[in-house]
Amino acid sequence: MNDADAGARPKIRIRGLSVAFGTKHVLRDLDLDVGVGESVVIIGGSGVGKSVTLKCILGLVQPDAGSIQIDGEEVVGLRGRALDRVNAKIGMLFQSAALFDSLQVWENVAFGLIQGEGMDREPAREKAIEKLGQVGLGPDVADLWPAELSGGMRKRVGLARAIATDPEIIFFDEPTTGLDPIMGDVIDKLIVECVRGLGATALSITHDMISARRIADRVAMLHEGKIIWTGPVASIDSSGNDYVEQFIHGKAEGPIQMQVRR
């Protein structure tokens, strides 16, 4: 699947997105479409702007130029309740899970239900326990504090929080970073199950190629602020793109030059 046949109106449509921090240009004229129900993974090295792309869509970073549309609605420049309304469609699993330390696990999972949707605490707690069950955690975890959880459990709780409001779109920021390979596989399978179960559109960023192959329908390679290749995950080994070849095989030699000081 490519951008043209991702659907008549993509769920997420990004055009000409540019972001600079001072003199450092992070994104340069980035274009990307994500179709309805599609799972797209953006791959690329550290510091190429993967996280910034997600933050622009969420309204956490204001781009210098460009357009981002969700369901055809322009989101660049939205503030306050208008931005909250758009963000209510989106769930996000952060790289570090970003659980609120001062809240118990169930309160973390139910946060969007209580604060965003105004649900009462008791039904919100029941739904949080149900969502924890979906990510393989028992009700006994609900009353723990985030500091009492292992890295893998934190990711699962973060995933439960991301899906708690049954969002139409889910973002995954480096979902397997810092996890052992087995837990990485568990998290990837949970992501696929949750996304398919909700029928959600997923946009993930990672530099873990094993994870990318598991969760992606389509892969987009980001380099120097632009998408330089995109295609179905099955075709990534025959991309014919030197940058993609170097990245997926993890070679130091190639067109991507890492800045290494000796």
């Binding site: 956490l60 963000n87 970003a98 969007g112």
Partner: protein, 258 residues
């Protein structure tokens, strides 16, 4: 000239920081008076700032009152004016010492904790997570702390006034052999509304400053543990300086004219 460049840079940085702080203050204050409100969070912060600061404020003011009684008696005895001890203690404690010392102690205890907590939330993406969950960080994190600081420090200062005066009484009666009834009568005679009210106004202002500095530096922290540490230090230093500056302005407003 090269020598003017660093001066100009410092001046421009100062203006930029002042502008950022002013915008932050206006934005934070506006969220204090616009719904949605989080009474549960305001209550939690009130307990944190008010109840848990009572021991440190109480100890600070009782020792200050005791020292003040000793010093006043020691100094004034040379001019046979020891009888002014009660007056000096009640004036100094209610007008200046209780509000300023309570403000500085709370800046060290609460301002630092706020900066560390919010700074950690910033560098671990918890503040970003709030935004993605349709919750405004200014309403959820900052407004409750500002409201609680504004409301609780005056209460702490009233308690500090009583404990500080009581400290002076203990020393005067049990160490300096003052007559207890006379000392209390003189203290009561010189408890003036203006002095107490000025102390309460100062306390409200200092509470706002402490919370504002803690939230501002925490919210803008970056760079991991080192950044959070710097935010914590900056919050205490800036709050302390602003408290002393604001103390002069409020004192001048209440007592400086006429």
């Amino acid at each position: 000239m090269p020598i003017l460049q660093p001066i100009g840079r410092v001046f421009l940085n100062f203006l930029a920081a002042t502008g950022r702080l002013s915008l932050f203050t206006v934005r934070a204050t506006s969220h204090c008076v616009r719904p949605p409100f989080y009474p549960r969070l305001v209550m939690r912060q009130m307990v944190e700032i008010g109840y848990y600061s009572l021991p440190v404020v109480g100890l600070t003011t009782i020792f200050t009152g005791m020292v003040l009684a000793l010093q006043t008696n020691s100094s004034f005895s040379s001019v046979n004016a020891e009888s002014a001890t009660a007056t000096i203690v009640v004036f100094a404690v209610t007008r200046e010492l209780a509000p300023v010392l309570a403000g500085l102690m709370v800046a060290g205890r609460i301002g630092a904790a706020m900066a560390a907590e919010i700074g950690t939330m910033r560098v671990t993406e918890q503040i970003d997570a709030l935004s993605t969950l349709s919750t405004n960080p200014f309403k959820y994190l900052i407004a409750p702390r500002l409201i609680a600081g504004l409301m609780m420090l005056p209460i702490l200062v009233v308690v500090g006034d009583i404990i500080g005066v009581f400290g002076g009484y203990l020393i005067a009666v049990y160490q300096l052999d003052f007559n207890a009834a006379n000392y209390l009568a003189q203290t009561w005679r010189y408890v003036e509304t203006l002095g107490v009210v000025s102390g309460i106004v100062k306390a409200a202002c200092f509470g706002f400053i402490v919370s504002l500095m803690g939230c501002y530096h925490g919210y803008h922290s970056s760079g991991g543990a080192q950044g959070v540490g710097a935010a914590t230090t900056n919050s205490v230093v800036s709050a302390s300086i602003l408290i002393l500056g604001a103390n002069y302005l409020i004192t001048a407003l209440f007592f400086g004219v006429g």
